[in-house]
C-alpha cells in the first residue's frame, strides 16, 4: 500500500476522533454524478472563479488603489515623465517591472471573461433543458444573481487600472447614474465623493472589487454547490435513466480525477491564453484624463448589451416635465431594460410553473424540442441580447464591413423589435417539427433510403425500426395537457374565485402547450407496428407468389 494512501487513512482516523468525518465520507465519497459535456460549463465558471481569487490576491500585492497624481518613471519608455494616477502607474509597474506580473494580470482578465461567458452558456444549458424546474428554482435564482453580480464585479475590475479606456467607461456609468430620477444626482455625489471624477472613486471601487463582491460571490457559489449536491445532479433521458434515479460515475475516484483534472485544464488553457494573447493593453491607452477619449471605445463583452441599447435608443428626453429632467434616452436602455430583463430571468421558473400547474419534482432533463415554447422564448431572448451586443460595437462593425453607422443604428432600432419575434416563430415551428419527426420515428421507424419495386410495379420504401436507446430518449417526453379555463360559476351558481387569473393562465397554457405533438400511446405504437408488420408480410407473399427472391431487409 502506498504511503500516501496510508497517511491519508491515518489522518482521517485522527480527524474523526474530533469531527465525524467518516460519517460524512461514507455517504458522499461514492456519490453518483451523471456524465455529459454540457455539465462541464458550470465547472468552467467555478474554476475560472477560483483562478480569479488566486490571481487577484497576487495583483493586490502590487496594485495601489489611489487616484493621487504621480509622474511615471518605470520601464515603459513611451509613458516616462507623464502624470498619471497611482492606480495606473502601479498597473504599469505590475505589467513591466514585476516578473510574471503581466502574466498574472492577463490570466486574471482572461479568467474574468471566461467566468462570465461560462456562466452565461451554463445558464443557457439550464434554461433549454428545463433544469431550473422544481426543486431547483432557488438555485436558478442564485445562479442568475451571480451573473448579475459578476457583471458588476467585472466592470469594477476593468475600471481599477484607471486607464483611458476604462475611465471613459466610468464616465458613462456616472452619466447613467445622473439620469436616475429623484436620487440620481445625490447618488453620483455619494459614490464619487463629490463631483465626477473626484479622488475617492478608485479606492472605494477597490474595496468593492476585492472584498464585498468576492465575499458575496463566494457565499453564492458555496450555496449553489451545496444545493447541487443535495438535489443530486439532473440527467438526460436515456435507457436506464428515470426521474427517480441518477446514473453515472462515483465522485471518488472518477469525478475526483475528471473534475479535478478539468480544473487544471481550465487553468492551463487560461495561462496559455495569457502567455500568447495580449488582453487589455492598458499601456497603449494611456492614463485617464477626463477630456480625452479613444475612438472605437468598447466595453468588455458582458457590458456590451447595455452599451448597445444606449447607442441605439432614440434621443428622447423631457427637459422639463413636472419641474424635472427625465432622460428617457438613458433611463430606459440602461436602467429599465436591464431591470426588466433580470426580473424576467429570475422569475422565469416560477412563471413557467404557474403556467404548467406542474408541482412534480423534475430530475430528468427536457430535450429542448419537447418544450417548444420555452426553447423559442430562450432563442428570442438570446436574439434580442445578441442584437444589442452587436450594436454595442456598431462603430467597429460599420468600419469592418464598410457600412453606414447611421443605417446600422437604424437597423438595430427596428431589428431589435422585429427579429426576435420572427426567431420565436421559427424556433417554435422548428421544435414542433422535430416533435412530429420523433413521433414518426417511434411509429414507423427510420426511412432507410432503400426503395423496392415489387413485381406488380408498386414501389415501397423500407423503414427500419429505431434502436431502444433512441426510443428511450424519445419516450421520456412528458406530455403536459394545457390547462382549461374553469367555468365562470360552479354548478351552484357560485362565481369561481380568481377567475380572471385562471383565464389568463389557461390562455398562456394553451399558447405554451396547445400545439405540442402528443407522444403516441402504446396502442398507437402497437397499431402502427401491426400495420407495418402486415404490410411486410403482404410484400413477402407477393414476392413469393412471383417467385422472386425476398430481400434480406424484409425478413430481418
Amino acid at each position: 500500500m502506498s504511503t500516501v494512501v496510508e497517511g491519508v487513512g491515518k489522518a482521517i482516523g485522527r480527524a474523526d476522533d474530533r469531527a465525524p468525518i467518516s460519517s460524512l465520507l461514507k455517504d458522499n465519497l461514492r456519490k453518483v454524478f451523471p456524465d455529459h459535456w454540457s455539465f462541464m460549463l458550470g465547472e468552467i465558471a467555478l474554476y475560472s472563479f477560483i483562478i480569479l481569487l488566486l490571481t487577484g490576491v497576487y495583483l493586490t500585492i502590487w496594485y495601489q488603489p489611489s487616484m493621487q497624481e504621480v509622474i511615471y518613471h518605470g520601464s515603459y519608455q513611451p509613458l516616462v515623465g507623464i502624470p498619471m494616477s497611482e492606480a495606473y502607474s502601479s498597473t504599469l509597474h505590475i505589467s513591466f517591472d514585476v516578473r510574471g506580473g503581466l502574466l498574472i494580470r492577463q490570466i486574471h482578465h482572461w479568467a474574468a471573461l471566461f467566468f462570465m461567458a461560462a456562466m452565461v452558456v451554463h445558464m443557457f444549458r439550464i434554461f433549454f433543458t428545463g433544469a431550473f424546474r422544481k426543486p431547483r428554482e432557488f438555485n436558478w435564482v442564485i445562479g442568475g444573481s451571480m451573473i448579475l453580480i459578476g457583471l458588476l464585479e467585472g466592470f469594477a475590475g476593468y475600471s481599477l487600472p484607471d486607464d483611458l479606456l476604462s475611465g471613459v467607461g466610468v464616465r458613462i456609468v456616472a452619466g447613467i447614474i445622473e439620469s436616475i430620477p429623484v436620487v440620481g444626482t445625490y447618488l453620483l455625489f455619494f459614490i464619487f465623493g463629490g463631483e465626477y471624477p473626484g479622488h475617492d472613486f478608485i479606492p472605494r471601487l477597490y474595496t468593492f472589487h476585492v472584498l464585498l463582491v468576492p465575499a458575496i460571490l463566494l457565499a453564492s457559489v458555496g450555496l449553489h454547490l451545496v444545493l447541487i449536491f443535495y438535489h443530486k445532479h439532473t440527467q438526460y433521458p436515456g435507457p436506464g435513466r428515470t426521474n427517480d434515479n441518477v446514473v453515472g460515475f462515483p465522485l471518488f475516484p472518477v469525478y475526483t480525477a475528471k473534475a479535478g483534472g478539468f480544473f487544471f485544464i481550465v487553468f492551463g488553457v487560461t495561462v496559455l491564453m495569457a502567455a500568447l494573447v495580449t488582453i487589455n493593453p492598458i499601456w497603449a491607452y494611456g492614463p485617464y484624463v477626463p477630456d480625452q477619449v479613444t475612438a472605437g471605445s468598447q466595453p468588455d463583452w458582458y457590458i456590451g448589451f447595455v452599451d448597445g441599447a444606449l447607442r441605439a435608443f432614440p434621443n428622447w428626453e423631457s427637459e422639463d416635465f413636472l419641474g424635472h429632467t427625465w432622460s428617457w434616452n438613458i433611463l430606459i436602455p440602461c436602467v429599465l431594460m436591464p431591470g426588466i430583463l433580470v426580473t424576467l430571468l429570475l422569475a422565469y421558473p416560477f412563471l413557467e410553473a404557474w403556467i404548467t400547474g406542474d408541482t412534480r419534482e423534475h430530475h430528468l432533463l427536457d430535450r429542448p424540442r419537447n418544450a417548444a415554447t420555452r426553447t423559442a422564448l430562450g432563442a428570442t431572448a438570446i436574439t434580442f441580447y445578441g442584437i444589442l451586443v452587436i450594436n454595442g460595437a456598431n462603430d467597429i462593425v460599420a468600419q469592418a464591413f464598410n457600412l453606414s453607422l447611421n443605417q446600422l443604428t437604424w437597423f438595430t432600432r427596428i431589428g431589435v423589435f422585429v427579429i426576435p419575434p420572427l426567431v420565436f416563430i421559427a424556433t417554435r415551428r422548428f421544435c414542433l417539427g422535430l416533435q412530429r419527426r420523433d413521433r414518426d420515428l417511434l411509429m414507423h421507424g427510420r426511412e432507410s433510403g432503400q426503395i423496392l419495386r415489387l413485381p406488380h410495379g408498386e414501389f415501397i420504401e423500407i423503414h427500419t425500426p429505431i434502436s431502444d436507446d433512441e426510443k428511450a430518449v424519445i419516450l421520456a417526453k412528458r406530455d403536459i395537457p394545457p390547462i382549461e379555463a374553469p367555468p365562470a360559476t360552479d354548478e351552484n351558481g357560485v362565481a369561481t374565485p380568481g377567475l380572471r387569473a385562471k383565464k389568463w393562465r389557461a390562455k398562456l397554457s394553451q399558447a405554451y402547450f396547445g400545439e405540442n405533438v402528443k407522444r403516441p400511446t402504446l396502442a398507437e405504437i402497437e397499431a402502427a407496428e401491426h400495420h407495418h408488420h402486415d404490410e411486410v408480410a403482404h410484400e413477402i407473399d407477393v414476392l413469393h407468389d412471383a417467385g422472386a427472391p425476398v430481400p434480406s431487409e424484409l425478413t430481418d
Binding site: 492577463q106 458613462i172 483534472g261 428626453e317
Partner: protein, 342 residues
C-alpha cells in the same frame, strides 16, 4: 423483421404522460479492461504527462531567474511580446494543462467506467419531521409569549425597524451634497482660452478655417493642483472650431462667436464622453462612445444619435491684447442631464 423492441414497451407499459423505462444497456469493456498491455501503455502515457508537467514547472523557475522582464521577442504575425510573459506563461500553462490531461486520461482509461445507479428520494423532509419541526417552533412561540404579549412584540418590531437607521444615515458623508456645482464650470468673464496640450493662449489668427483645437481655461492647472483632482477639467474642457462666418446657420446666443470661431463644450450631453471627432466639411461633431452627432454650424444641435440636447456653446470674444477669452461661464449646465437640471 422482428418485433422484439415491442416487448420492452409492453413490459414497462406506456401510460399517457408518464415516462417509459428501458433497462440500462449492457456495459462494453474497453481495450484497457481486457488487454493488460493496453492498460500498461495507458499507465505509461499518464506517467509521462505527469513527468513532463514537472519538467515544465522546473523550466518555469529557470526562466523566472534567467529572463529579465525588460526583454522582448518579435513573433512576426503575433506581434511583439514580453519574453518573460511568453516563456513563463508557456511553461506554467503547459505544466498545469498536462496535470489535467493526465488525470482525465487516467480516469477514462484505467478507472472503472461501469455506470452506477443511485436512487433519488423526495427532496423535502418527511412529514413526521415537518410535524416535529412545527411542534418545536410552536412550543418556542408559546414559551416566548410572542403572540400574547402584544406590547413586547410591537415594540420589538418597532425597535428593529429603526435599528438600521444609523447605518444608513452615516453614509451621508460619502460625499458633499450636489448644491449647484453641476451648473457651473471654472470659466468666467475674461478667462483666456489656452491650447490644451501646450497651455499656449490663442489668438484668432492662430486658427485656420476648418481647424479644431482642444482648449481649456488658462487657470485650469492651478485649480486642479490645488484641488488634487480632475473635476475642473471634466467640466471645463472645450473645443474651438473655425468656419467661414457665412457657413454659420445659427448660434446659441448673439455675438457668442468671433469671426467664425466658435467654442463648444467638449463633454457630450448624452452620458459625458469627451468628443473630438470632427468632420470639417459638414461641421459635424461625432461622439466616439455612442455616436451622437452635433451640427456645430447650427447651434450645436443634435442631428443623429442618442443625445437629446445641443452641445452647450461658450460665448467668446477677444481681449485687449488680442487673445481669445470667454465672455462668461456656460449659460447652461454642461455634460449629461440630471434630475434637477430643468
Amino acid at each position: 423483421m422482428s418485433n422484439d423492441h415491442k416487448t420492452d414497451v409492453a413490459t414497462t407499459g406506456i401510460v399517457e404522460g408518464e415516462i417509459v423505462e428501458f433497462p440500462l444497456p449492457p456495459h462494453h469493456h474497453r481495450l484497457t479492461d481486457t488487454d493488460p498491455r493496453a492498460a500498461r501503455r495507458a499507465e505509461r502515457q499518464v506517467s509521462t504527462m505527469f513527468v513532463l508537467s514537472g519538467v515544465c514547472i522546473i523550466a518555469f523557475v529557470a526562466a523566472y531567474v534567467a529572463i529579465p522582464e525588460t526583454s522582448y521577442i518579435n513573433l512576426g504575425p503575433v506581434g511583439t511580446l514580453q519574453t518573460s510573459n511568453l516563456v513563463l506563461g508557456l511553461t506554467f500553462g503547459l505544466g498545469t494543462l498536462l496535470i489535467g490531461i493526465a488525470a482525465i486520461h487516467w480516469a477514462k482509461k484505467l478507472m472503472s467506467d461501469e455506470e452506477i445507479v443511485d436512487y433519488r428520494h423526495p427532496v423535502g423532509s418527511p412529514q413526521e419531521d415537518r410535524d416535529a419541526a412545527k411542534a418545536a417552533f410552536d412550543a418556542g412561540v408559546a414559551e416566548s409569549g410572542f403572540v400574547e404579549r402584544k406590547m413586547v412584540r410591537r415594540t420589538l418590531l418597532g425597535a428593529l425597524a429603526l435599528f438600521p437607521l444609523p447605518l444608513i444615515v452615516m453614509l451621508k458623508d460619502m460625499g458633499p451634497l450636489p448644491g449647484d456645482s453641476l451648473r457651473h464650470t471654472i470659466w468666467r468673464k475674461g478667462s483666456r482660452i489656452v491650447i490644451d496640450v501646450t497651455g499656449q493662449p490663442l489668438r484668432p489668427e492662430d486658427m485656420q478655417v476648418g481647424s479644431l483645437v482642444s482648449a481649456s481655461p488658462e487657470d485650469l492647472n492651478e485649480i486642479q493642483e490645488a484641488a488634487g483632482d480632475q473635476n475642473a477639467r471634466a467640466k471645463a474642457s472645450i473645443i474651438l472650431v473655425r468656419m467661414k462666418p457665412s457657413d454659420i446657420v445659427s448660434e446659441q446666443g448673439d455675438g457668442w462667436s468671433w469671426n467664425g470661431i466658435l467654442a463648444f463644450s467638449k463633454i457630450c450631453t448624452h452620458v459625458g464622453c469627451p468628443i473630438a471627432l470632427y468632420q470639417q466639411r459638414t461641421h459635424h461633431l461625432l461622439c466616439p462612445c455612442h455616436q451622437s452627432t452635433f451640427d456645430l454650424a447650427d447651434s450645436g444641435k443634435v442631428v443623429f444619435g442618442p443625445a437629446a440636447r445641443a452641445m452647450p456653446q461658450l460665448p467668446i470674444t477677444v481681449d485687449s491684447e488680442g487673445y481669445l477669452v470667454a465672455q462668461s461661464d456656460f449659460q447652461q449646465p454642461v455634460g449629461p442631464s440630471f434630475w434637477e437640471r430643468a
